[in-house]
Amino acid sequence: MNRKEFLSDCSRMGFAGVALSLFPWLESCTEKAQKEVSGERARIGIIGTGSRGLFHVQHLLQMPNVDVVALCDNYRPHLEDAAQYYPQAKLYDDYRRLLEDRNVQGVIITTPLYLHARMTIDALRAGKRVFCEKSMAFTLDEALDVYNCRKEVGGVLLIGQQRLFDPKYIKAMQMIHEGVIGDVVGVRNYWYRNNNWRREVPSPELERHINWRLYSEYSRGLMTELACHQLQNGSWAMGMLPEQVMGSGHLVHWTNEDERDVYDTVSAIFTYPNGVNMTFESIISNKHFGMGEQILGTKGTIDLVTAMHYTDEAAPKGSGMDQLIAQIESGIMSNSVFAGTSWAAETATLAPGMPIMPNVKVVSGESSVGAEADGSKELLEAFIHAVITGKQPEKVLEESYYATQFALLADMAMHENRILRLDDKYKVPYEPLRSK
C-alpha cells in the first residue's frame, strides 16, 4: 500500500479527517504534509545491514525522495549485500565514523538490541534524526536514557513499532474508542512459531554475532523481539498503562540446538488500573495458532490481526441483510450467511465476523524479518518526512517507550518470579492515544 492508497482507504472508511485528531503521528501521511516536503530529499545512513536492515532497504528503494548515502555494518558480508543496492553509498564498519559523516541527515538503526540505546544516543547527540528498531533499549535505565536524550537534544526519534502505522490497527482502534465493542474487558496477544529461531552461521565464532537474539547477553528474547509489538495494543485501546505485570518463562524445547539462554516459552499477564488483564503468550515449538491480537469488549471483539469485528449481541433478524448493508457502506464484499431452509423466528442466524475494512492484508507473524503491509513502510515514510522537516511526530515515542519498558519489566518478572510494577523513576509523561 502506498501513501495515496493509505489515504484513499482512510477516506473511504470515513476516518481521514478524524484520524489526524485521534492519531496525530499520521500527519506526515497527509497531502498537505507531502506538499510541504515536495522536491526535498532525505540523506540516510543505515547502521546494521542484516536481514531487517535489508527489509527496510526494499521499502527505501520505492521512495523517490530518499538517498541512502552511507551504510555501516561490522560484518562484511551483510555490508556488501546492502552495498549492491547503493553502490554510491559510503561504507563504514564503525557506526561512530558514519555519525561523523556530515552528509548523513538521518540514520536507521537495525542492530542487535543491546546496541540500540548507545547507538541512538550517539546519533541524537551527533545531530542525526533517528529511526531505531524496537525494542528501544536493552534495560529499563537505558530506555529512560534514550528518552531523556531525545528530550534534551530535541531531535527526531522514531522506534520501529509499525502497528501504529498499520491502517487496520488504526481503523480498529478508532472503532474501539468509539465504543463499538463496548467497554474493553480483556486484551489477548499471542505469537506462536515452530522453528528454532536460528540463522545459519558460516563459522562458529560468529554464533553470538549472528544469533544474538538467542543470548541474554544481547537480547531479552521473545519479550523484546515479539511481545514489544503487541504490548501497545492494550494501552492504545484503553488509553492507560499497565499497573503490574507477572509472568512465567522457560526454555522448554530448543535446548539441544546451541547454548541459548533466552526463553522459548513465555506467558505474561499485564494488569491495568481498572483490573483489566492483557495477556501475552509465545511458544516457538508449536505454530498452530500463529499470531493473534484481540481486544475483548462487553459488546464484541475486534481481532486486530485479521481486522475482523465479532459482535456478542444477539444477531437481529435479517442479519444477513445487515451485513450486506455494512459491506456496501464500507466498500467491501464478504460472505453473507442467511440462506437456509424456511425461516423461523426463533432461529435467527448467528452473526459471523465482519471485516472492518477492505483489502486487509493479514500478516502471519511467521517471518522473523518482517512482512509486507504491516505498517513498516508507512512508518519509514513518516521517518523520512521527519528527517526532512525535523519535526518529531506526536505521541508515538511515548507509546514505543512504554512498550519497551513493559516488555523488559515482564522479562524481569519472569526471571525473578515476582509481580512487578514500573518504578516511578521510569515514568515519563504519557498522553493516551485514545480520544473520545
Partner: protein, 289 residues
C-alpha cells in the same frame, strides 16, 4: 409486522434502500442500490402492497380469496378466474408434468398421480376432476412473488438488488457492488452459524428446501399426502426464482432415484443434495451429474 425501511447513503457511490416486512407467513427482505431515498421507499411500499395482494390471492385458508372460491366450487362447476390466476395455474400444471408429479398444487390423497383439475384456456376456467381436490399454492407463491419483485425493481431501473424470501429463496439482480456476484451462504443445519455451502448469484436465484429451521418436516409429498422426511437439503440455482423454488420443493419431495429425471427437463438449472453431518461435515452431490 410493519414495514421496516432503512436508507443509507454512507457510501455515496451506492446508496442503499432496504425494506423488510412479513408476508406469506415469512419475512421478505429487499436490498436495492442506486436509488434516491424517496424512490426506494416508494418502491418498497409498492412491493409490500403487491405482496399483500398476492398473499390474499393465493391463500387457500382465506375464504375471501379467489383460491378459496375455486376450492369451494370447482368440484361442482367450472370456475372462471382472472388472467393472473389462470396463468399461475397453467404454470403449476406445467411444473406438475415436468416434475413427474413431484410438484403438485392439488392435494388429493384419494387418487394419487391422476390429473386433479382441468384448465379451459378459452374460457379461463378451472374445474376439479372430482370431489376432494383442493389447491394449495403456497409452494408456488413464494417463487412467483420473488419474480414479481424482481420485475418491479427492474421497471424502476434498479440494476443491483438482492431479494430474500424467508431465507429459503434468494434472487439477485446484477452483482454485489464490490464483487462479481452476490455471495450467499447456506447455513449448516446441525452446526448453526456455520457455512454448509456457498452460492454465487448474478442475475439469478437460488432456493433451498429441507426441514424448516425449527426442525419440522413441512414439505408435502403429493404422491402420499404426507410430509417428506428427508434429512438432506436440496439447493437449486438458476435464472428464475420461480423455477428454483418449484424445483427445490419438487426434488425434495421426489424419490432420490427420480431426481435426475426431473432435472433433465430444466436446462440452465443446477441442483445439489447437501447432507449436513452432526460433526459439522458436509457432503454434496450434484443431481443429474
Amino acid at each position: 409486522m410493519a414495514l421496516e425501511f432503512r436508507y443509507s447513503d454512507k457510501n455515496p457511490l451506492h446508496p442503499i434502500s432496504c425494506g423488510a416486512f412479513r408476508a406469506m407467513h415469512t419475512r421478505i427482505e429487499i436490498l436495492l442500490t442506486g436509488l434516491k431515498e424517496s424512490v426506494g421507499r416508494s418502491l418498497v411500499e409498492r412491493i409490500e402492497h403487491e405482496m399483500k395482494i398476492m398473499e390474499r390471492r393465493f391463500n387457500c385458508h382465506d375464504e375471501r380469496s379467489p383460491l378459496a372460491a375455486i376450492n369451494l366450487r370447482a368440484a361442482r362447476e367450472a370456475v372462471e378466474v382472472d388472467d393472473d390466476m389462470f396463468m399461475a395455474l397453467e404454470l403449476c400444471e406445467a411444473f406438475r408434468r415436468t416434475t413427474c408429479g413431484a410438484f403438485d398444487v392439488a392435494t388429493d390423497t384419494a387418487l394419487q398421480g391422476q390429473v386433479s383439475y382441468v384448465l379451459d384456456p378459452l374460457r379461463h376456467t378451472v374445474r376439479f376432476a372430482r370431489e376432494g381436490v383442493r389447491l394449495d399454492m403456497g409452494g408456488f407463491a413464494k417463487g412467483y412473488a420473488l419474480e414479481k419483485i424482481r420485475q418491479m425493481a427492474l421497471q424502476e431501473g434498479v440494476a443491483t438488488a438482492l431479494m430474500n424470501f424467508g431465507n429459503s429463496s434468494v434472487a439477485a439482480l446484477g452483482h454485489h457492488p464490490y464483487g462479481e456476484w452476490w455471495s450467499v451462504g447456506v447455513e449448516h443445519t446441525v452446526q448453526r452459524g456455520q457455512l454448509a455451502h456457498e452460492v454465487h448469484l448474478k442475475d439469478s436465484a437460488m432456493s433451498v428446501s429441507g426441514r424448516s429451521t425449527d426442525g419440522r418436516y413441512h414439505i408435502v409429498n403429493p404422491a402420499t399426502g404426507g410430509t417428506v422426511a428427508a434429512e438432506e437439503l436440496i439447493l437449486v440455482e438458476g435464472r428464475s426464482a420461480l423455477i428454483t423454488e418449484v424445483l427445490s420443493t419438487a426434488l425434495y419431495a421426489a424419490p432420490r432415484a427420480q431426481r435426475s429425471a426431473i432435472m433433465s427437463h430444466y436446462e440452465g438449472y443446477s441442483a445439489t443434495e447437501i447432507y449436513c453431518r452432526a460433526g459439522g461435515g458436509v457432503e454434496r452431490r450434484e443431481i443429474g451429474k
